[in-house]
Symmetry: C2
Subunit: 419 residues, 2 copies
Amino acid sequence: MALKSFIEVSPDSHFPIQNLPFGIFKPEPASPPRPGVAIGDYVLDLSTISVSGIFDGPFLSGSDCFLQPNLNKFLALGRPAWKEARAKLQNLLSADEATLRDNPSLREKSLVPMSKVEMLLPIAIGDYTDFFSSMHHARNCGIMFRGPENAINPNWFQLPIAYHGRSSSIVVSGTEIIRPRGQGHPSGNSPPYFGPSRKLDFELEMAAVVGPGNELGKPVDVNEAGDHIFGLVLMNDWSARDIQAWEYVPLGPFLGKSFGTTISPWIVTLDALEPFACNSPKQDPQPLPYLAEKTSKNYDISLEVQIKPAGQEDSCVVTRSNFNHLYWTVTQQLAHHTINGCNLRPGDLLGTGTISGPEPESYGCLLELTWNGQKSLSLKGATRKFLEDGDEVIISGCSKGDGYNVGFGTCTGKILPSL
Amino acid sequence: MALKSFIEVSPDSHFPIQNLPFGIFKPEPASPPRPGVAIGDYVLDLSTISVSGIFDGPFLSGSDCFLQPNLNKFLALGRPAWKEARAKLQNLLSADEATLRDNPSLREKSLVPMSKVEMLLPIAIGDYTDFFSSMHHARNCGIMFRGPENAINPNWFQLPIAYHGRSSSIVVSGTEIIRPRGQGHPSGNSPPYFGPSRKLDFELEMAAVVGPGNELGKPVDVNEAGDHIFGLVLMNDWSARDIQAWEYVPLGPFLGKSFGTTISPWIVTLDALEPFACNSPKQDPQPLPYLAEKTSKNYDISLEVQIKPAGQEDSCVVTRSNFNHLYWTVTQQLAHHTINGCNLRPGDLLGTGTISGPEPESYGCLLELTWNGQKSLSLKGATRKFLEDGDEVIISGCSKGDGYNVGFGTCTGKILPSL
C-alpha cells in the first residue's frame, strides 16, 4: 500500500508524502526566510522541526543547515544528508508516526497553510548555466535561421552546448517581468531599432540544482554526476527574440535573456523523481568516453505551458512537452561542464534549454510555435505571435505515479509594459 | 608640490599616496581576511584603522564595511563613501599628519610589509561579464576566422558586444592554472580531438568593479554610469582556443574560458585614475542616444605582458598595449548592460575584452601575436605559438604621472600540466 501522511492530501495534489520538495518561505511578511517542504496544502517549517531535534541522524545532527535563509548549506552536505533528511521527513509525516501527528503545539508551530506563505528563491545562485539539449528545439531554430540543410551544427551531437546565463536576474515564480528595451536589427541603412522588445517569448525549461560541487581543476566523473544534483525546478527563460537575433553573433545570448529568468519555488529532489526515471534517447554518434554513462537516465515529467492573455479570465494551454525529450542528460551536462576543470558550487543552476518535443503541439517556445511570428496562436478569443503586455505565462510540471503525483507546482510570470 | 606620505615610497613604486588601491589580505596565514590599501611596500590594515575611529565622516562613521572579508559592503555604499575613504586615507598617510605617523603602536598594528601578506580576491563576484571592446582585437579575430571582407560584424559598431563569463573560477593573481582538457575540432570523419588543450592562450584585459548597482528593471543612465564603477583591475582571461573554436557556435564561449580567469589583487579607483583620463576614440556611426555620453572618457594606462617560459630565469615582454585603445568605454558598457533592465550588484565584474592596439607589437593575446599559431614568438632562447606547461604569464599596468605612478602591480599565473 502506498505511503500515506496523517495530513490529508488530495489525490491531484502535486505534493503528497512521496514528493516532499524543498523551498524557502516566509510564514508572515515580517518573518525571516527559512527552509520548508511542501506537504499537501501545507508547508512544513524545517527551522522549527530542526530546533525540536528531529534531525538526529549522523549527517544532520547538530547542523544549522535548516536555520539558513537559503538551501545552499544543506545542498553542500551532499546526497547522504539529503537522503537522511528525506527519510526523517517521510517518517515524521507518515500516518503511523505520532511525533508530529499527536503534538498539537508542534503542529501549530511547524505546519503553515501554503495559501498564507510567501515563497522566495530557494537558493543563492552563484552561477547559472543554460544548456541547449533538446534536439527538436535545436533543429527548429536551425531551420528558421540557417535553413534545413545545416539545421544542427556538427558540434551539437558531440557535446552538450551551453552558455553562461545571468544569475542576478533569476527571480521566483510570481515575480512580474518588465518588458525589456533594447536594439533590434536595422532595416536597410537606418540605425538599429531601439525600444521595447517586439518579440518577447517564454522558454519552457527545467533546471538542475547543484549539490556539493567540485574543486577548481577537478572534473566530476559522469557516473558520479548524479550525486551532484539535488533536484530539479521548472524554469522560464524569458527571451527577447529581436534583441537576441541582433546581438548574439559571435559571443552568444546576452541582453536578449538577462532581463529575467523565472524558477519555481519548489525543488523536487532526484530521490522523489527516481520512480519516474526512464531511458534517455539513443545517442548517435556515441559520445566520447568522458560523456559515456553506465546508465543514462531521463525522467518522465509531463510539462505544460498555459498563457492567460491580458484582460482574459481563462488561460489556454499552448504546449505540452516532457522532460524526457532531452537528448543530453543532466548528468552528461554536469560532467561536461567540469571536464575543463571548471568548479561548480552548491546552488548553481544548470538549465536544460528549451524542451521541445517532436510534434508542433510540443514545441517549447513561441518562436517555434508561431515559427518566428509567421503564424498566430489562437487563445480562445485572443491571438498571439509573441507575448503582449499583461499576458501571464504559467508553466507546470508533474510526474504521475500510481495514485499520486510528484509535481513541481507552477512557475508563473506576468509581463508588465516597458518603463 | 606633489602630495607625499611619511612612508618612504620609491619613485618607481606603483603605490604612492596618489594611488591607494583597495584589496583584501591576510597579515598571517591564520588571520581572517580584511580590507587594506597599498602604500609603497606596505599594506595599511583598514580593519585596524576603522576600529581606531579614523573614519568619522558622514558616510563611513559607524560602518562595519572595513570589518568584512571582502569589499562588497564598501562598494555598495557608493561614490560619496569611496571619496570620503580616499580623502581620510590620503590625509592619514600624508607627511604632515601626525595621527598615524607619530603613533608607533598604531603604525605597528596597521602597517604590514607587503612581502609578508597573502592577497585574496578583493570581492565576492556575483556575476562576471566579458565585453569585446577593442576594435583591433575584433578585427584581427574576424580576419582570421571569417576573412578580411567581413572581419567585423555590423552589430559590433552599434553596441558593446559581450557574453556572460563564469564567476566561480575567477582567481587572484598568483594562482596556478591547470591546463584544461576538452574537445577540439574533429579532422575528417574521425571523432573530435579530446585531451589537454593544444592552444592555451592568455588574454590581456582589464575589468571594472561595479559599485552600488541597480534594481531589476531600472537601467542606469550612461551619464551616471561612472558612479557605478568603483575602479579597475588587471585581468587575464585565459583561453583554450581549440576548445573555444569547436564549441562556440551558436551560443558563444563556454569551456574554452571557464577553467580560470585571473585578476590582480589591487583595485585602483577611478578617483586615482582621474588625472589619466583621456578622450575615447571617435565612434562612427554615432551611438544610439542611450549610449551617447556627454563626456566619453578613457584612461591612459600602459599595459604590458611578459612570459617567463618554463625552465627559464628571465621573462620576455611579448606585447605592450594601452587601456585607451578601447572603442567602447566602460561607462557605455555598463549602461548597455542595464538597458534591458538587467540588475548589477556590488562586486560584479565587467571585463573589457582583449585590449589590442593597432600595431602587431600591441596585440593582446597569442592568437593574434602568432596569427593562430602560423608563426612563432621568439622569447630569448625559447619559441612559442601557444602556452606550454610551466610558462608564467605576467601582466602589468601603470599610469605615469609627474614624478609618480598610479599602478596596478601585476596579474600573474603559471600553467600546470593537465591531470
